[in-house]
Amino acid sequence: MEISFRDLMTVLHGMGFGALFMLAFSGAIAELYRMSAPGAPGQASAREQSLLRLYLGAMVILAWAAVISGAYLVYPWYRAVPPAGTADLAEFPKFLLTSSPHTSGWHSLGMEWKEHVAWLAPIAMTMVAYVFAKYGPAITKHRQMRSAVLAFAVVAFVATGVAGAFGAFLNKYAPVRGGPTITIMNISEHEG
């Protein structure tokens, strides 16, 4: 069972950081809403508050790791320019997509949107984590601040969804491949 180095880094970027960050959203938004809703049942314990701070801190790290690995590891491979006369564009995803009118939209809309909008998520989540760390459940006393925090968290979720969805489609139509081959494990094929 083998995987190319570029494939592995793309999986790390998309699944290791991006998808994990996306998965963490439902818990974060529900918990932020629960802890900061006016008339929330009972005061959150110090342990619950610390756990949410830790959870949001981990989300911030995942968000930054996702965009930085995407922009500086995977994207350069995606937009690499093929040498003149190259017929097989398999290792040049951007040019593979733009070589056909049937797939060029995946680049001109998908990648062009994804590469920018994704950066809204770590900026918004850093703010959300900071404000919660600073105010904790006392944010209930600042109704408008609470609304802004939840709105930015939702926008971060949407931005991540756009980036993640287009990332998955782009990797389907023009996967980032190449580099050294890594053998994950040796499995012999058994027939019958």
């Binding site: 965009v67 922009a71 500086y72 994207y75 350069p76 937009r79 690499a80 001109s108 809309l109 062009e112 949107w113 590469e115 920018h116 909008v117 950066w119 809204l120 900026i123 918004a124 850093t126 703010m127 900071y130 404000v131 600073k134 105010y135 006392a138 944010i139 006393k141 600042h142 408008q144 601040m145 609304s147 802004a148 925090v149 709105a151 930015f152 926008v155 931005a159």
Partner: protein, 114 residues
């Protein structure tokens, strides 16, 4: 933005307001830089901080710098203060909307008349 020294709240909202408005400013800056990078070859050249990543490297780096500098300045001004949160929210949401719209390729193309 109206600012007062006293507040009925346990913790003044200044620090939170500074973080929220700075996030809006950073988002708006991202949109504006993305548009200028796309529209003007000279700006694309300027924003190419790291050649393999192209203009995206400078667009995002500059947006992050604008965001952090805005946060630092606002936090220093508003720390321990109570500010008009409705106005801060309005400004932050408008800037966030600018960021979202200007990073959407059809809007970028529309503005550039493509």
């Amino acid at each position: 933005m109206s600012i007062s020294q006293t507040s009925g709240d346990a913790i003044p909202n200044g620090s939170g307001a500074a973080a929220i408005l700075a996030a809006g400013i950073g988002s708006g800056a991202l949109g504006v830089f993305a548009l200028t990078n796309d529209a003007f070859p000279a700006m694309n050249h300027f924003f190419t901080f790291y050649t393999p990543t192209g203009g995206l490297s400078g667009v995002t780096t500059c947006a992050i710098i604008v965001w952090l500098v805005a946060w630092f300045i606002l936090a220093r001004r508003w720390s321990g203060q109570t500010v008009a949160m409705a106005k801060v929210n309005l400004a932050a949401f408008v800037l966030l909307a600018v960021g979202m719209l200007l990073t959407f390729p059809p809007v970028m193309d529309l503005i550039q008349g493509r």
